[in-house]
């Protein structure tokens, strides 16, 4: 018995050691790959290219899909900002998902909308569409509003939009997200410049909008969030997009195109059934299914990412709402891994099955469990006096400095290529944030993730995260 226990202990220790080492190596590798990918992007992309595309009659048509549920506070300014994007050929579809506030009334009166007889072929099943509105003012001829019965999910709302979309590519965003004016140009370029593969999705960097200045849906000045929780998220987003997604993009292994902003191939998205309304992480779920579909149908596909920040979203500022969001994400991840487990280490799915899926399984899904078990064992060892404190502290210090280094590198890549923020001390402020992340922010994420897994296993009911917004329509003076 004694022997078995100590054997188990050693096995656990060794597994953990290898686990940690692989994780560290992967991050070092991502730092390197992302650097190459970002350099390639900055060399290749010029404002001139975007101008050429903006003035070209050959730009492919795009459909913007933005679902809205009780967004009365910001809907008008955000639709206005969508109307002024730089792109020669696009339509905007706002999907009013059975709002109970005055979202629909505001849209109708502001943009002089009338219900029209609209014939469409619903290839994806959704909650019924009540009416479709177009504007009588030709200035808003690119705008369309779908009024549908609430489907209790963003997925159902976007699917209704996909059914009606005219063009071959759609850009999915949230009504509460603020987009850069060049968003459409930037997102479609990777599709047009890809040599052999079919680009089925393109994503770009998202950032937290909380302390930046906006005026009627236009970004005036970028600032790191003043409050700690959103600032943690800003740093996390920079790490996950600029370092993570860009690194993965370089080897065509992007695991997820964020729901805040992404361009998708409509044909592939429709054929694999659109967004799954029962999923808690519908964005990642759709991309996984699209990749799977592409593999199953011998489509040589690619998913690309852009390091430039094109979308600002309001990050939860209170722990309560933040917990709701992260619990939901974790639950979505567990659901996804469960539903598509047949891809795990399955060579039929290429990189998807051999790299993306295993990485997500071990280092996204299992990470909170591993960390949690580590803490429990640590406490046990500490209580029974078996801890070599100097060594333990050294290892802790190592993980801490490594984590700070990786985050700082991602801020560096971001700074070198785009030089965001106006003042140098704002960047310094951001650079200090990772020092606290490990102790304050990370434990929260682990805890919420575990809660999400628990809800997944017990099947707790939940409605779609309707977060309370402050609204940043008007310039704060």
């Amino acid at each position: 018995m004694e022997g078995l226990l100590s054997w188990l202990g050693r096995a656990y220790e060794n597994t953990l050691f290898v686990y940690g080492l692989v994780l560290l190596l992967v991050y070092a590798l991502l730092a390197l790959l992302s650097m190459i990918a970002i350099r390639r992007y900055t060399r290749k992309s010029t404002q001139h290219q975007l101008d050429i595309l903006a003035s070209s009659p050959m730009a492919p048509g795009l459909t913007i899909l933005a679902p809205a549920f009780n967004e009365g506070l910001t809907i008008i300014s955000n639709v206005r900002s969508l109307l002024t994007l730089n792109y020669p050929r696009y339509e905007i579809i706002i999907i009013n998902d059975g709002s109970t506030d005055n979202t629909m009334e505001q849209l109708i009166s502001e943009f002089r909308m009338v219900a029209v007889d609209f014939a469409h072929n619903a290839r994806i099943l959704t909650q019924p569409v009540r009416k479709i509105y177009k504007s009588t003012d030709p200035a808003y001829s690119s705008l369309m509003v779908i009024d549908k019965v609430n489907g209790k999910s963003k997925a159902d709302a976007v699917n209704a939009g996909i059914n009606i979309a005219t063009f071959n590519y759609f850009v999915c965003t949230d009504v509460d997200c603020i987009l850069h004016k060049d968003t459409l140009l930037e997102l479609v370029l990777p599709v047009m410049q890809e040599e052999k593969k079919r680009v089925i999705a393109v994503g770009a960097t998202l950032r937290i909008a909380n302390s930046s200045d906006f005026d009627e849906g236009v970004l005036i000045r970028m600032r790191p969030p003043r409050q700690l929780l959103p600032r943690f998220q800003e740093v996390e987003y920079i790490r996950s997009f600029v370092l993570g997604k860009m690194g993965w993009s370089y080897i065509n292994c992007v695991p997820n195109v964020s729901g805040g902003l992404g361009l998708f191939d409509k044909e592939v998205a429709t054929r694999c059934g659109g967004y799954d309304h029962s999923s808690f992480g519908e964005d990642m779920e759709l991309l996984t299914r699209m990749c799977r579909y592409a593999h199953d149908n011998q489509i040589d596909y690619a998913v690309r990412y852009i390091p430039r920040t094109l979308c600002w979203t309001e990050g939860p500022a209170s722990v309560k709402i933040f917990s709701r969001q992260r619990t939901r994400w974790a639950r979505g991840l567990a659901q996804l891994m469960h539903a598509h487990f047949s891809m795990f280490l399955n060579p039929r799915y290429g990189k998807m099955g051999l790299i993306v899926f295993p990485f997500n399984f071990f280092f996204e899904l299992l990470a909170p469990l591993v960390e949690f078990s580590g803490i429990i064992i640590y406490i046990y060892l500490a209580v029974t006096g078996q801890v070599n404190w100097p060594y333990a502290l050294l290892l802790l210090l190592f993980v801490y400095t490594y984590a700070v280094m990786i985050t700082t590198i991602s801020i560096l890549w971001d700074q070198l290529s785009f030089g965001y923020y106006k003042k140098w001390w704002e960047v310094a402020y951001l650079c200090l944030t990772p020092f606290m992340e490990f102790l304050l922010y990370h434990p929260l994420i682990v805890f919420f993730s575990l809660r999400g897994y628990y809800y997944f296993l017990t099947g707790k009911k939940s409605t779609w995260g309707n977060m309370q917004r402050q609204g940043f329509g008007k310039k704060k003076t």
């Binding site: 190592f398 280094m405 140098w424």
Partner: protein
């Protein structure tokens, strides 16, 4: 080994290091590495921000000066307004000599500004801007960039030559059109079309790799904005090229230049086995409103894949001769595919005069779904 004096306070650290197991030793080393890398990152951030700040400050000072000089010397030049050809106008460069043009960044800034101006004005003023660029010898920097081993620099130089319309010898460009780097290859081809005085479209004959959507955007812009380029009959490549992307691109150019003499070649393309290309050809015929092809299109309709069928319906709508109203009505009433019925309805509505009676009759008799489709197509607020 090394005889470096070690401060006494580090002794416990060193002894711990010597006694520790491998994992701990590694951890200790990596802590130092991580701290150093982090510090280096801070330094790089500060440095890049400082350089950026300096650059902005310099430009904030220089650009207004350049703008004023260009405005005064070129835009307001009395002889430009009088219509004197640019080649006969003497530029007064005194003002420009006072700019710090011995500095590379200042030369680059001036070049960029001249290009920016040329994107806003053309004609005589545009030519004069080009003269200014040459007389300030700014093209020498660009020439130097062309010799750089870095592809990104070469691309930038080529783009600059295209923007400034500076002729480059074929021997310089031609080798680059076969470069292994895609961006460089594309830029060299664009430069060849824009700048070569011999046979700008020669590369259509030789290109074997597909033209990407992006290449087509750039080519289209260059071909349609170059002033003294002689536009060939693109039917030549529609007939002879084996590169599908070239054929498809030429179809778009045929539409843009409304080259009706190309119609027979495009009709021949209807026999191609590639149905993407066939759809493009049908689309082209429709947009040209090619007379007398409707019968041909309608007769081949039933054996086509969906994509081509939709294009045929659209083409019949675009041509709108009124002779195919019955065909459209048949398709609208009896097709099982929603997209086909919608395309047929749209074309019926476009056949305005000839189909008015039929549309009216259909409005009265159609079932619910077909009625909705018709109303959709008749509503002027709905574009697609």
């Amino acid at each position: 080994m090394f005889d470096i004096p070690i401060p006494a306070f580090l002794d416990p650290v060193l002894s711990t290091f010597r006694e520790a197991p491998l994992a701990i030793r590694l951890a200790m080393i990596f802590i130092i590495v991580a701290v150093l890398v982090t510090l280096l990152a801070y330094f790089s951030i500060l440095r890049s921000r400082f350089l950026g700040y300096q650059r902005r400050k310099r430009l904030d000072y220089l650009l207004p000066k350049i703008d004023n000089l260009i405005i005064d010397e070129i835009m307001a030049h009395p002889e430009v307004a009088a219509g004197t050809p640019a080649s006969q106008i003497q530029l007064n460069l005194d003002g420009f000599q006072e700019l710090p043009l011995h500095k590379k960044w200042a030369r680059q800034a001036t070049t960029n500004r001249i290009i920016h101006f040329r994107r806003n004005v053309r004609g005589n003023a545009g030519h004069l801007l080009r003269n200014l660029y040459i007389q300030l010898e700014l093209n020498k920097d660009t020439m130097k960039q062309m010799k750089s081993p870095k592809w990104a620099r070469k691309v930038r130089a080529l783009t600059e030559f295209i923007d400034m319309d500076i002729p480059v010898a074929d021997v310089t460009i031609l080798p680059l059109t076969n470069s292994r780097n895609r961006e460089l290859r594309a830029a060299a081809r664009h430069a060849y079309i824009k700048l070569s005085k011999n046979e700008p479209f020669k590369f259509f004959d030789v290109v074997t790799d597909p033209l990407l959507m992006w290449d087509q955007v750039e080519l289209f812009r260059i071909i349609t904005t170059t002033e003294d380029i002689s536009i060939p009959n693109f039917a030549r490549w529609v007939t002879y090229s084996s590169n599908k992307s070239v054929v498809s691109f030429c179809l778009k150019l045929i539409v843009h230049y409304n080259q009706l003499p190309a119609v027979p070649a495009v009709i021949k393309l209807l026999d191609t086995k590639d149905h993407y290309l066939r759809a493009d050809a049908i689309n082209c015929l429709g947009k040209l409103k090619a007379p007398d092809v409707e019968d041909r299109l309608v007769s081949m309709y039933s054996s086509q894949p969906l994509q081509c069928q939709i294009e045929i319906l659209k083409a019949v709508g675009r041509i709108s001769s009124g002779r195919q109203v019955d065909f459209l009505k048949q398709e609208f009433l009896h097709s099982t595919n929603f997209d086909l019925r919608k395309a047929a309805a749209k074309s019926l509505v476009r056949n305005d005069q000839a189909a008015r009676g039929v549309v009216q009759e259909l409005l009265e008799t159609a079932n619910r779904e077909n009625l909705l489709i018709l109303k959709h197509c008749m509503n002027p607020l709905i574009k697609y």
